[in-house]
Every structure is written in structure tokens, then in C-alpha cells.
């Protein structure tokens, strides 16, 4: 399966298993979503369970909270992560805090799915990676898978989770892994081991990182599309790097990250989002606190530049293989 099919399968499984699961979002029903992630689900489960909504992100999340409070398990789609900001108040002030402020008398098990990231010539309004502005909120889990197998298992876990989860889908890798080189022909998920996705129900634990590539020379901590870029960069350098896929940003599996960095002594943090106050800052600080005495060099970061995502300069903005390689070389050269 590709990632679109894996996500579709996750929702299909959950709609079939649990009558309280409903989907809502813009263009998701009859049309099946602009990225086809909900294709066929309205036909199968009806317009009362796969609900087309007005173009009102704040309304979508607010209504999902109300549904969640009243016993449903809503999965809301925000068509692009760039369009989530009208819902920000409902996410930050309401969804993330409802359990806390009501001493758990009211809860809303809402999952918000949203495609993120660049690489599709989407310009500043179809390319953002805003995970850090959600990681900063207490009370909402934040997930970003990097392959179809994880996408399905984590999405089912997110839907079954009684806490709210925001689920970022790196849209550049919907149809195949991407090593950061836009000039290479696209490849599908068929030949990738994690494109192998079981048909039925399974979950992956939220809060657990994965070792995407084992190694001993240096640890690269990353997630989403950048997992594939970092693996390609390490291989291009012939470097025996361990690449960790964070997978769940909140809660963060610091133990797995710290174990690896303590072993390798060197750490590069990489993400596509802007660098300043990006989630890499949290990763870097948390790893430093846990591993300071094992570090042989300062932790380095590779990220998008601190500008909006420019349409014409997509590949100069995107933290591609060369940016990762240069950082790795500097990191390995450090004393």
C-alpha cells in the first residue's frame, strides 16, 4: 500500500469496528478528499458517518469536540496544515485543555488529520510543517509518520486514543519515499519494506520512536519526509549513521533517542519546518540534558530556513540531501 491507501485502510477498519467513529472535513465525502485519503468511505459508510463540511476549520474542530463530548470518536481532516490556523483557538484553548479544566469530567477523543510539508510546488500556503506550534501546547498528542506501515498503525492508535491527537501526514511521501532529489523519477512504496501494510486492525504505540536505520557513527534524529532524506545523505557519505524516526512528537520517546546518542556520541537533528523555535530546538535540548556527558560534539540542527516557504525556491528552501551531508561532515569533523 502507499500511504494514502494505508491511511484509508486505517479509517476503513475503524469505521467498520467502531460505530462511534465518524469522519468530517472539506471535500472528504462524495469526492473522497483532495488527496483521495477518504476515497470510497462515504459510499461505504454513508453521509452520516463520513461528513462533508463547510470550509470552516474552526467549525470543523469545534464541532468535532462537541461530537466527541457526546460519545462519538471524530476524525477531522484539515485539508492542508497551512489552513489549520482558523481552528487554532479550538485546538489550543479547548481541545487540548478540556480534560484538564473539567477534571476529566468532559473529554473529546478527537483525531485531527492534516497533510503537511513541501515538495509539491505548493508555495507558502500548501507547504508548511507547523508541528512545533502544536507540540508547544500541553494536552494534545502530535504524530507524524514517515511510511505507510507506521501511518496505518499510528492512525488507528490515534483514533482509539482517548486523548486528542493531531496527526500530520507528510504529503510529499504519500505516494512514495522521497530522498530529497526532485530531479529523480518518483518511486512508489511497492519496493519499500514499510510499504507492506497488513489489511486488518493493528496499532503502533503512540510515544515510541523507531530506528529507521541502525548505525554507530552518529545519530540522526528526524521525522516525516526527512527520514528518507537523512538516510540518503548518510548513505551518500558512506557514514554508518543511526537514523531515528521520532514518529510521535508528543509524547516524545526521549529514552530511545538518548540511548542512541549515548552510544554514538554525536547527534544531528533534522526537520523540514523552520529552524528557529522549531521542534528541533526541543529535541536538541532534551537530548543534551540526557546525554551531555556522552557528547563528543555539539548537537547540530538541519531545517528549513526561517522564511515562509517560497514557491520559486522550493528546492533551495527544502533541507535536502546536501544540507544534511554538509551538517554531517561538520559534525563528524568536530573534536
Amino acid at each position: 500500500m502507499n500511504m494514502v491507501q494505508a491511511l484509508n485502510s486505517a479509517m476503513d477498519v475503524m469505521l467498520a469496528r467502531d460505530p462511534s467513529v465518524v469522519l468530517l472535513g472539506e471535500d472528504i465525502g462524495y469526492f473522497g478528499g483532495v488527496f483521495r485519503v477518504t476515497d470510497g468511505l462515504q459510499k461505504k459508510y454513508g453521509a452520516h458517518r463520513v461528513i462533508d463540511t463547510p470550509i470552516a476549520e474552526g467549525g470543523i474542530v469545534g464541532a468535532a469536540i462537541g461530537m466527541g463530548v457526546n460519545g462519538l470518536r471524530p476524525v477531522a481532516e484539515i485539508q492542508f496544515a497551512d489552513y489549520i490556523y482558523p481552528a487554532y483557538d479550538q485546538v489550543v484553548s479547548e481541545l487540548a485543555r478540556l480534560r484538564y479544566r473539567s477534571a476529566a469530567d468532559f473529554t473529546a477523543p478527537v483525531t485531527i488529520r492534516t497533510p503537511c510539508g513541501g515538495g509539491i510546488r505548493g508555495g507558502q500556503t500548501h507547504s508548511q510543517s507547523p508541528e512545533a506550534v502544536f507540540a508547544h501546547i500541553s494536552g494534545i498528542k502530535v504524530v507524524m509518520p514517515s511510511n505507510p506501515h507506521d501511518a496505518k498503525g499510528l492512525l488507528i492508535a490515534a483514533i482509539e486514543d482517548d486523548d486528542p491527537v493531531i496527526f500530520f501526514e507528510p504529503k510529499r511521501i504519500y505516494n512514495g519515499p522521497f530522498d530529497g532529489d526532485p530531479d529523480k523519477p518518483s518511486i512508489g512504496w511497492t519496493d519499500h519494506p514499510l510499504g507492506e501494510v497488513p489489511e486488518g486492525h493493528y496499532t503502533l504505540p503512540i510515544g515510541r520512536a523507531a530506528i529507521a536505520r541502525p548505525g554507530i557513527a552518529v545519530t540522526i534524529v528526524t521525522y516525516g519526509t526527512m527520514v528518507h532524506v537523512c538516510i540518503a545523505a548518510a548513505e551518500a557519505l558512506g557514514l554508518d549513521a543511526e537514523v531515528l524516526d521520532v514518529r510521535t512528537i508528543v509524547p516524545l520517546d526521549i529514552d530511545t533517542l538518548a540511548e542512541s546518542v549515548s552510544r554514538t556520541g554525536r547527534c544531528l537533528v533534522a526537520h523540514e519546518a523552520t529552524r528557529f523555535a522549531g521542534f528541533g530546538a526541543e529535541l536538541s535540548a532534551s537530548i543534551q540534558e540526557a546525554c551531555f556527558w556522552s557528547l563528543e560534539a555539539p548537537i547540530m540542527r538541519v531545517a528549513g530556513w526561517d522564511t515562509p516557504y517560497p514557491h520559486a525556491f522550493e528546492w533551495e528552501y527544502f533541507p535536502g540531501k546536501m544540507r544534511v551531508m554538509r551538517a554531517l561532515e561538520a559534525l563528524m569533523a568536530a573534536a
Binding site: 462533508d52 508555495g123 529552524r275 526561517d306 517560497p310 520559486a312 528552501y317
Partner: protein, 421 residues
């Protein structure tokens, strides 16, 4: 009757393979709707927000109290500008299909909404377009070459490569920067108009959103502020029936007009035949005078049809009948004005043909000129270092450092390319 409430799902009149059905579109006979004085009380516009202001009848005659006093030269100019908009649009759509530009949004079928409105406004009124208002730019005289260069993200791109195609702007011609986020321009236009009122200036603002975007909270904020401060602003809803795949019923249009939200929130409302050049012109002129003279804002709903796809990323045959535009009851805006001019003896098929050829030739010349300035694929390219400009007025230290890092990275990338020395 049900014993309990059941979720209502708005009906969609026709899906692929079904016969197009526009019986839901409530029409008024041409010329039938009254035209009140511009200082009419808001509540007295309530019926105008439900009826449909139409001037051109099926034979091409201009009828009723809304018929504007435009002379033949002005009408021909309107036709020329609509035709320019359409032919430019068609050419850019084809260009996108050939891979020369990354993305495009057409306004096919909606030319009157923009062209007639912009012609009815003063040249220094401030316009806040959506991404489907090409006609505003054409009327304001933005050279087609400039629009093309933006589409190409090339060295003459007014946005310096930062925006998706069609997100134009022109400060000199008072066309605000277009956002990909929906309806954000609506309260901004109100604020611009509030500033004009604060400063005691006579310019007004006008903004456009699609009916789908009226679902966003910014739409409601705009109407509220416009009402509270009696801001001199025209708020236009282009009801083209579809927001990507979402039918207007899902935006709240089922058995209720969008214009009715004006009077409901305290500003005047007009529902207008958006494919009728004369009706759009008359309604805009009425609302503009009302706003300019301090009687407040008007919400104008333009009833039209999105004859093409949402964008080049969309395939409408997945969710609506392929041939639906042929059944649209309000016809085609260009054909209707053309018929009117022919009826007046001011136009002919031969002149129309000649004009089309002339415009197409000019577009071809303009395209050649625009392409000289490069594209994302070939020719001259913008300097990537420009990416860091205009984040702030002055380049901060951390961005200067990132710019330097990028320079080194690009050098390394060039050196690593096969065949590099």
C-alpha cells in the same frame, strides 16, 4: 415526520452521469426588481437580497430600473475586457497543461463579476481580490506580461517567486496581495475602508470571496465590523455554486441566499445575476455610491457558475455532470453582452471575430515577452538569496547567516552535479 432529529445532509442536484438540474436557482424576471434610493434603510433591502437583480433579458435587451446608463463605447470596452480575461485565462490554462507554469486557477464563466465591478468603481478605490478575479487586474490595466511573469515565478515576478501562480498584486493599481487562505481579505478590506473613514478620504474598498469561503469566521467578522463602523466597503460573494467539490448547499446556501446575510447582520444586501454585465455594473455602482456617501456597506451576492475546474489540480467530472455549464440558466456573460451590443447595432460577429484574433495575437506577443524573463524550468532565474529579503524590513543577523549558508550549500550542490569540474 421523524420522532427524533436526523442529521440533515444538503442535497446536491446532480452528480456525474445525471442530468444537470438548476431548478434550485431562484430567478426573478429581468427588470422586475425595484431599485431603491442609495440611502435606503438596511431592512428594506431584505427582499433585494432574496430576489435577483437582472437587466439583460433573454433577447439581449436591457430592461428595468437597474439598467445602467452606459454608452456603446463603454459596453464595447466591457466586452473587450471580458474577452481579454477569458482568452488570457484559456491560454494560461493550456500553458499550465504544457508544464510551463506550476498551477493555475481559471475564472471561466465569471468574467462579468470582476470586469463589470471594477469598471463601476473609481480607479483609486482599493480592491481585495480572491484568486478567481482575473478581470479586476485586467480592468485596472495590469499588463498581461506582468501577470504572466507572476505565473512563471520568473525574474520579473512581482512577488519575487514567493507566491503560487495567480496570487498577484499591484500596489500602484490598488490591488491587494492575494492570499491562498480563504476569506482573510474580507475583514482586511473593511479595515482599509475604516481607515479611509477615519482619515476622511473618499476612496472605498471592495472585496471578493467565493460562497464556500463565507463559511469562514473571517466572513462574519467582516460583516460585523462593516455594520458597526458603517465602513465604506463593498463585500462581494461570488456564488459560483462550487467550492472545489463542495456544493453551495454545504456553505449554507440551501433555500437561502448568501446576500440575505447582509441585512441579517446589519448591512444592505443585493442578489445579482453575476453573468449579466449590466446588472453587476449597476449593483456595484449603487453600492459604491451608498458606501462613498456614508450610508454603509453592502453585501452583494453574484449568482454565477464555475464553468471550469476549481484549479489545475482539480477534476470536476468526479463530482458533477460534465456538461452542466450548458444548462446553467443564466447563460454566459460574454455571449449575453455580445448579444446586447449586436441588438443595439453596435457590434457584429465579424467585429467579435476580429477582436478575438487581435487579443489572441497580443497575448501571444505578451507570452513571448514574459517567457524571455525565464520560468521555473528554464531561462533566467531569480537569485535564491532573495528568499531572505522581505521577511522583515531589515535583514536580521540570523537570516543573513542562513543566506550565507545557502550560498555555500548551492556551491556544494553545483560541484556535486555530474559533469561539474
Amino acid at each position: 415526520m421523524n420522532d427524533v432529529a436526523r442529521l440533515h445532509v444538503p442535497a446536491v442536484p446532480a452528480r456525474p452521469g445525471e442530468r444537470p438540474d438548476f431548478s434550485y436557482v431562484r430567478l426573478s424576471p429581468p427588470g422586475a426588481v425595484r431599485r431603491p434610493p442609495i440611502d435606503v434603510a438596511v431592512q428594506e433591502t431584505a427582499s433585494l437580497a432574496e430576489e435577483l437583480v437582472r437587466v439583460l433579458d433573454d433577447d439581449g435587451r436591457a430592461v428595468g430600473p437597474w439598467a445602467p446608463a452606459l454608452d456603446a463605447a463603454q459596453l464595447r470596452e466591457g466586452l473587450r475586457l471580458m474577452l481579454t480575461t477569458r482568452l488570457f485565462d484559456e491560454r494560461m490554462q493550456r500553458t499550465q497543461r504544457q508544464g510551463r507554469i506550476s498551477f493555475y486557477v481559471r475564472c471561466y464563466g465569471e468574467e462579468a463579476v470582476s470586469v463589470a465591478a471594477a469598471m463601476a468603481l473609481e480607479p483609486d478605490d482599493m480592491l481585495f481580490p480572491s484568486y478567481r478575479n482575473q478581470g479586476l487586474h485586467v480592468v485596472r490595466g495590469v499588463p498581461l506580461v506582468d501577470l504572466m511573469c507572476q505565473l512563471l515565478s520568473n525574474t520579473r515576478d512581482m512577488c519575487r517567486g514567493r507566491q503560487l501562480p495567480v496570487m498577484y498584486h499591484s500596489a500602484a493599481r490598488r490591488l491587494f496581495s492575494i492570499s491562498g487562505n480563504l476569506a482573510t481579505q474580507f475583514p482586511q478590506a473593511v479595515g482599509w475602508a475604516m481607515a479611509a473613514a477615519i482619515k476622511g478620504e473618499r476612496q472605498i474598498a471592495a472585496a471578493w470571496v467565493g460562497e464556500g469561503s463565507t463559511a469562514e469566521s473571517d466572513f462574519h467578522h467582516a460583516l460585523l465590523f462593516a455594520k458597526v463602523y458603517r465602513a465604506p466597503v463593498l463585500l462581494n460573494v461570488v456564488n459560483n455554486q462550487w467550492a472545489i467539490s463542495t456544493f453551495q448547499g454545504f456553505a449554507g446556501g440551501e433555500q437561502r441566499s448568501f446576500a440575505a446575510r447582509g441585512p441579517a447582520l446589519g448591512i444592505a444586501g443585493l442578489r445579482v445575476d453575476g453573468n449579466d454585465f449590466l446588472a453587476v455594473h449597476a449593483a456595484t455602482a449603487w453600492a459604491a455610491e451608498r458606501a462613498r456617501r456614508g450610508f454603509g456597506s453592502t453585501l452583494i451576492e453574484h449568482v454565477t457558475y464555475r464553468a471550469g475546474a476549481h484549479s489545475t489540480s482539480d477534476d470536476p467530472s468526479r463530482y458533477r455532470p460534465r456538461d452542466d455549464y450548458e444548462f446553467w440558466p443564466l447563460g454566459d456573460p460574454i455571449e449575453r453582452l455580445r448579444r446586447h451590443l449586436v441588438l443595439l447595432g453596435e457590434w457584429s460577429d465579424a467585429r467579435h471575430e476580429a477582436l478575438s484574433k487581435e487579443i489572441e495575437a497580443q497575448i501571444a506577443v505578451d507570452w513571448k515577452e514574459a517567457a524571455r524573463h525565464g520560468s521555473l524550468n528554464d531561462g533566467p532565474k531569480l537569485d535564491p538569496a532573495l528568499m531572505f529579503d522581505d521577511v522583515f524590513r531589515d535583514l536580521p543577523e540570523h537570516l543573513r547567516r542562513q543566506r550565507d549558508e545557502l550560498t555555500l550549500e548551492l556551491r556544494a550542490r553545483a560541484a556535486a552535479r555530474p559533469g561539474a569540474p
